[in-house]
């Protein structure tokens, strides 16, 4: 064993720690031939004895009696408090659980109610389309309006919006496509209203939707209420043109 290796084991040696008998013998043999390491071991042994003296002097010392008395008093007080605290915390958890369940139930109900109210106009319109139409005064005005609406080529597209967004090629395979479009654009729109008797059946053929602005009085032609205070203002509308370029249906957009 050399001095460097001795240095790594000298503390263990002086503290009387468990170590291999062979290693201990080697270390002791090294101190026989090396005065510095022998002195180092003596210092370490003296330090160990010094620490042991301090430890034995401290051994009988304990915390004061007052600490035990305080702790026992705190323990007794706690025994009264703990069950109440437990009950409170359980109640809190139950309340939170019930509130969460109520919230979920209300959300489900609201979702179903929304779905039902959204489907009702479509169902009503389907029923209406199934029955043979009866001409009345309003239908006459619709016919008149269909003639008044300009052809696709003559429409003045809104200047503030880019054209591709307003002129959309759509395939009206389902009657509720308008509803889907409404959800996407977040606009409020009426359902498509056919402009002639032929238009209702040809709605399924597909076509082109063009956004136009019309006088607010046009609402009256379709039996829709008109706000007389804003009579002179314009309203937005989507006009569905058939493949032949004729206006088939219209919906009003807000």
């Amino acid at each position: 064993m050399n001095c460097q290796k001795f240095e790594t084991v000298v503390s263990e040696l002086a503290r009387g720690q468990m170590m291999a008998a062979e290693q201990r013998a080697e270390a002791m043999a090294h101190t026989d031939g090396c005065d510095d390491c022998a002195a180092r071991l003596r210092d370490e042994e003296m330090l160990t004895r010094g620490l042991q003296s301090l430890a034995s002097q401290m051994e009988p010392r304990e915390a004061s009696r007052a600490v035990e008395a305080n702790l026992l008093a705190a323990f007794r007080a706690r025994q009264v408090v703990v069950p109440i605290a437990k009950r409170k915390s359980n109640t809190r958890y139950w309340l939170a659980a019930i509130a969460a369940m109520l919230l979920i139930a209300i959300s489900i109900l609201a979702f179903r109610w929304n779905n039902r109210s959204a489907n009702e106009p479509i169902e009503a319109r389907r029923r209406e389309q199934a029955q043979p139409p009866t001409p009345d005064v309003n239908d006459k005005s619709k016919e008149q309006f269909a003639r008044d609406i300009p052809k696709a080529d003559d429409v003045d597209v809104l200047p503030q919006r880019p054209k591709p967004k307003h002129v959309r090629q759509v395939n009206l395979r389902r009657a509720d496509t308008a509803q889907v479009a409404n959800h996407v654009t977040k606009e409020i729109a009426t359902d498509f209203i056919p402009l002639s008797y032929m238009s209702a059946s040809s709605l399924q053929d597909g076509g082109q939707i063009i956004r136009v602005q019309l006088p607010r009085s046009a609402l009256a032609n379709f039996g829709l209420p008109v706000n007389m205070d804003r009579y002179n203002e314009k309203v937005k509308a989507d006009v569905l043109y058939g493949v032949d370029g004729m206006a088939r249906a219209i919906r009003f957009v807000q």
Binding site: G50, L51, L54, Q57, E62, E68, V82
Partner: protein
């Protein structure tokens, strides 16, 4: 009635720490008293030796057992002994307390003579006469002068007789780290306790042995 109480206490005193803790958490005051009497000494001495103050030792002991009342259910016997758990808690409170004391000192409090960093007063090595009370006091002061990390291992391994493995568990480090910290702490203590003239002689010897290693 008293005889019955003594008989019950004797029966419970044979229970191990974990069993006493379980009873204590169920509200058994006797179990708490037994556990306190069994473990308070080690915690008190650890805190007093780390801080050098008996009153801090009392405060920390109280804090540790109040913690046990509140958070005793967090003890997991599969991770170590209750003694190590309590010493770990005591260590946390001691560190917090010492930091607070340091802040007070920085605010302008002057050190008392008792708290002054240790320096050998005479040419004689204090370790040479272990019978004198001054010698033990010198060792105590030298320990208090150590950096906190080194003081912890000296107090635990040397003064409390805690094993390396348990010390590593208390300090939250590897056993190898405990060994190396202890080795360095002992070297620092020796340097502090050795008279100045002896230190110079040792330094020259170190140079000589360094050459020998080369």
């Amino acid at each position: 009635m008293t005889a019955d109480l003594h008989r019950r206490m004797n029966l419970k005193s044979e229970l191990n720490d974990s069993e006493l803790l379980r009873l204590m958490l169920a509200g058994d005051e006797e179990a708490f008293a037994l556990l306190y009497r069994r473990r308070q000494g080690g915690i008190y001495r650890f805190a007093a030796q780390m801080s050098g103050s008996d009153s801090i030792g009392d405060d920390i002991t109280q804090e540790v057992f109040l913690f046990l009342m509140r958070e005793g259910h967090t003890f997991d016997s599969s991770k170590g002994t209750l003694s190590a758990f309590l010493l770990g808690v005591a260590r946390m409170y001691v560190r917090r307390r010492l930091k607070a004391e340091q802040r007070l000192e920085l605010l302008g409090d002057t050190l008392d003579d008792d708290d002054a960093p240790f320096s050998p007063q005479s040419d004689m090595c204090p370790l040479e006469d272990l019978t004198r009370a001054e010698t033990i006091e010198s060792v105590r002061k030298a320990i208090l002068s150590l950096p906190e990390k080194h003081r912890e291992v000296i107090v635990l391994c040397e003064l409390q007789g805690v094993s390396y493995a348990e010390t590593a568990e208390i300090l939250g480090c590897a056993i190898g780290t405990v060994r190396s910290r202890l080795h360095r702490a002992r070297a620092q203590l020796l340097t502090m306790l050795r008279p100045a003239a002896d230190v110079e002689q040792r330094d020259s010897a170190t140079v000589k042995s360094a050459r020998c290693f080369a």
